[in-house]
Every structure is written in C-alpha cells, then in structure tokens.
C-alpha cells in the first residue's frame, strides 16, 4: 500500500487556483522530487499532504499511523524565544539526550546541541531541522526547498546528507526543489508541477519531456546546462503545457 495517496486535489485562494486535479502516490522507500517554477503550488501541495491545508476538493489518504518527518521551507524563530538545539529536538515529544545527540550526528551537526538556535549558521540550522525530522523514525521525510539560502557546495553536501539519512532509515523522501540539476539525478521519480502535474517519470523521461522543457528551458539556462547542453529554445512564454503534457 502507498504511504500517501492524493486524489484530484483542488486548492485555491479566492478565485486563484493553486492546485488543480493533482493526484499522486508515494511508495515506501522511493525518492520523489517535485519541481516547478515559483508559484506553481509546490509548497502548497506539500502542506496539503501533511494536513496543514485542507483541499477544497479531492482527498488525501495517509497510511494509518504514518510517521512524517517534515522539514519546512524556512523556520523563523522569534528572537524573543530562547531555545537550545537540544530543547528544540525534544519538541513536541521528549526523546532524551542520547537520541538527540544521535540524530544530530546522523544529520552531520554533532556538537551543536547546547547552542541557541539563533546562533546557528544557515547550513547548521537546516541540518538541525533534518535531525529533528528524523528523530521520530519517519516512514517518509518531506522537505520543502531544504537548501534555500545555502551556497552550492553547501546544498550539494546537504543533499548527500539526505541520501545518507535515507539509506540509514530506509524511508521515502518527498521533496520540493528548484535546483533541478542537483536533485534530479538522485530521484527515482520527478513530478513537474505548475498548478497541475505537467509531466512525471524518471529524471530522464521528465527532462526530455516537452512540457518540462517549456517550463524550464528558458530562464534557467545555467542550471539546465549541467543537465543538457541545449540552448536553442525560443523565448516562448505562452504556457500551453496542457497539450504538451499529453
């Protein structure tokens, strides 16, 4: 049985449609990456899947008692709230000192447990979020643009860490990213989202799909160049990927 299944999700603010007819299923152990331009509903989809947003139509079925480890896009901790890394890891469930130290080690930030969250660097902070997400031995790890604000070596190292964590725990990974060249190679399956699912499949299939190239072929030339040396697209911004996806 799939860990999570979503059927024909519709979500919008007022008249603005953010998600339209999105269906997907996540199987145990697989790495799925959702790519899409800004405002394509990637974060919204993730938040619907964890239950933070209620879809206006469609349904989300989570496996009974599914353990989700969630790494949010960004976590702003109000400067008036003092909190050490160790205390942060013990929320909402107290896990004890040893489990916290183990998780920090697994996430690649051993030795920060007594520091204030506000004193961490960007990379350390994201790793602490990762450590917190893996504490509950999740069956699925969900990450929302986890490397925002990290430089390229930093984000590459972070993705290697995620890969190591996944091999450790054997959990499924569902992540949202715009860093195509880094994440796609590590994914079992890529979903290209722009309000609806434009195309999906293995990284090779998606990168060759006309709908994908229409979304990313212009404007992200540098990132795409690493993947495919192909710069001969027209600058065509009319999105008619509906047909293209077929």
């Amino acid at each position: 049985m799939s860990l999570i299944e979503a059927h024909h999700l519709e979500f919008g603010h007022g008249s603005q449609r953010v998600l339209q007819g999105v269906s997907l299923a996540l199987e145990p152990g697989e790495i799925v990456t959702i790519v899409g331009p800004n405002g394509s509903g990637k974060s919204t989809l993730l938040r619907v899947l964890i239950g933070a947003l209620k879809p206006q139509k469609g349904s989300v079925t989570r496996q009974e008692g599914l353990r989700i480890g969630y790494v949010p896009q960004k976590l702003h901790i109000d400067p008036t709230l003092p909190i050490t890394v160790e205390r942060f890891l013990n929320l909402p469930v107290a896990v004890g000192k040893n489990a916290a130290l183990d998780a920090l080690k697994t996430a690649g930030v051993a030795g920060v447990s007594s520091q204030q969250m506000s004193q961490l660097s960007g990379g350390q902070f994201q790793r602490v979020l990762l450590a917190r997400a893996i504490l509950g031995k999740p069956q699925v790890l969900m990450l929302d643009e986890p490397t925002q604000g990290l430089d390229q070596p930093g984000s590459a190292a972070f993705y290697r860490q995620i890969d190591a964590v996944r091999r450790d725990l054997g959990c499924a990974v569902l992540m949202v990213s715009h860093e195509l060249h880094v994440v796609m190679s590590a994914s079992d399956r890529v979903i290209c989202l722009n309000g609806h699912i434009c195309c999906e499949g293995t990284p090779e299939v998606v990168s060759a799909a006309p709908a994908y190239r229409e979304l990313f072929g212009t404007g992200t030339g540098g990132a795409l160049a690493l993947y495919r040396h192909d710069h001969d697209h027209g600058h065509d911004h009319d999105h008619h990927h509906n047909e293209a996806a077929e």
Binding site: R47, I50, G51, A52, I68, G69, Y70, P72, L75, I77, D78, T80, L81, P82, I83, T84, R87, F88, L91, P92, V93, A94, Q116, G136, M142
Partner: protein, 265 residues
C-alpha cells in the same frame, strides 16, 4: 491574616502576576501584544454591562473579554493582516465601555478602579477568584506546554506532528480572556498588557530555554507585585501603576545588565 487588607492585596497581586507572567511568555513569543490590548480594553465594556445588569464584575468582564478574544481569533483565521482591525476593535471597545459606564443611571462609578486597578479593596472572594483563575491558567499551560510551544515555533511543524495549531491558539485565546478577568481588579484594563509582556521581556534577557524564561517571568511578575505594593504604600500612590513601574525598572536593569555582559565577553 487575611483580615489585613495589605496581605489580601499582596496575595491578589502575586496570584495575578504569576498567571500573567507565564501566559505573557506566549504573548511575547507570538507577538500578541495588540491582541492582549484589545481583549483587555474590551473589559471596560464588560464592567459597564455587569453594572447595568447587576451581575458580578468578573463575570461581565470575563464574558466580554471572551467574546472579543473569540472575535479576534476568528478574524486571524482569515489569513489577512489584522493589525488595523485590532486597533479599531481595541479602542472602539474601550471608548464604548467608557461611554456606557457614564450612561448607567443612578450610580456614580469610580472608573479609575477599573482602568488602573484597585487592589487595596480586594475581598476574600476576589482572592479566591484570582487564585482559582490563575491556577486554571497555569495548569492548562502546563498540560499543553509541548504542543503549544511547537505550534508557536512553526504551525506546519505542529501539523506534521499531529498537533492542530489553531486549537492551541484557541486555548491561548481563552486563557487570555481568563487573565484579563482576573487581572482587572489588580492592575486595571489599561495595564493588563503591561503585566503580560514586561516580566516576560525582562526574563528573556537571562533565559536560555523557554521553560527558564517562563519561570523567571513568573518570578519577576511576583516580585514586581510585592515591591510595587510596598512602594505604593510608602509613597501613597496607586498600586497598579506602581507594580508596572517596578516591572519596567526590572526590565531596564536586565537589559542594561545584558548589554554589560555583552561588552564583557
């Protein structure tokens, strides 16, 4: 012992300050100061209604503060910025209350007692209400501590852990109304927010975890209540504002102390 009005005043002040000091941490962390203001200002309207219908002041204040808090809770769920709306509600309720109090026929009301508190006149019954309400606030926060702290850090983290942050916010809203009802006798409607945020802000300078900040905040609140009462008696001033003056002084000292410590390291 309870026959002495100063002892009664001290007990009332300490009970209120402990509950407000604890809840105040969440008010500071979640930036709810204006929310507290609106709820507290609505209390004056509650006083007017209670006098009009001849019911207990605590009941009237509690009900109106609750209604106001629920209204704001509902508005904040709409996702829009509610800052201006809060301003309108806070001052609208205060003005309406002030007008309504003067319109009540047949009695001249000492409005100062409700705006700035009148802790020297508390009865045994008041103390029972204050400590009962305070115990309720402390017990509820104790019970919800982890969930509420998680929801305060990030709503999505809470959802992912199976906690409903909206429900936690609702609980906070109810507790805020309870604290307002309890505190109006001690510091008055205008200074309740001060009792919520100043001890917590002072505690922030010397705390490394949320729990330590909470305990420090309660301690600073209680200390302010005792010292404020004493100073008010010595200098013959009103007690509520003096309690807040002491709290503000502690905050200033803690900020200076932190600054000096920062230079020293």
């Amino acid at each position: 012992m309870l026959d002495d009005f100063l002892v009664r005043a001290a007990l009332a002040g300490i009970g209120t300050a402990i509950a407000a000091g604890l809840l105040g941490c969440f008010v500071v962390w979640r930036r709810m100061a204006y929310f507290g203001d609106a709820t507290a200002h609505a209390a004056v309207l509650g006083v007017a209604i209670a006098l009009l219908f001849g019911t207990s002041i605590t009941l009237g204040v509690g009900v109106v503060a609750l209604a106001m808090a629920m209204l704001i809770h509902g508005l904040s769920g709409q996702g829009a910025s509610v800052d201006t709306m809060l301003g309108v509600l806070a001052h609208g309720a205060l003005a309406l209350g002030l007008v309504a109090v003067t319109l009540i026929p047949g009695q001249r009301i000492d409005l100062d007692a409700y705006l700035f508190g009148d802790v020297l006149s508390v009865t045994r019954m008041d103390i029972a209400v204050i400590w009962g309400g305070g115990a309720l606030v402390v017990a509820t926060l104790w019970w919800h501590w982890s969930a509420m702290l998680t929801a305060t850090l990030n709503p999505d983290l809470a959802y992912a852990a199976g906690i409903n942050p909206r429900r936690e916010q609702l609980v906070l809203t109810l507790l805020l109304a309870a604290v307002v009802a309890v505190a109006i006798k001690v510091v008055g409607a205008l200074l309740i927010t001060a009792l919520l945020i100043i001890p917590a802000a002072a505690a922030r300078n010397y705390a490394s975890t949320p729990e330590r900040m909470a305990f420090l905040s309660m301690g600073i609140g209680a200390l302010s209540a005792i010292a404020g009462l004493r100073l008010a008696v010595i200098f013959d001033t009103s007690v509520g504002p003096m309690i807040i003056c002491v709290a503000a002084l502690i905050f200033a000292l803690s900020a200076v102390g932190r600054g000096l410590r920062g230079i020293g390291t």
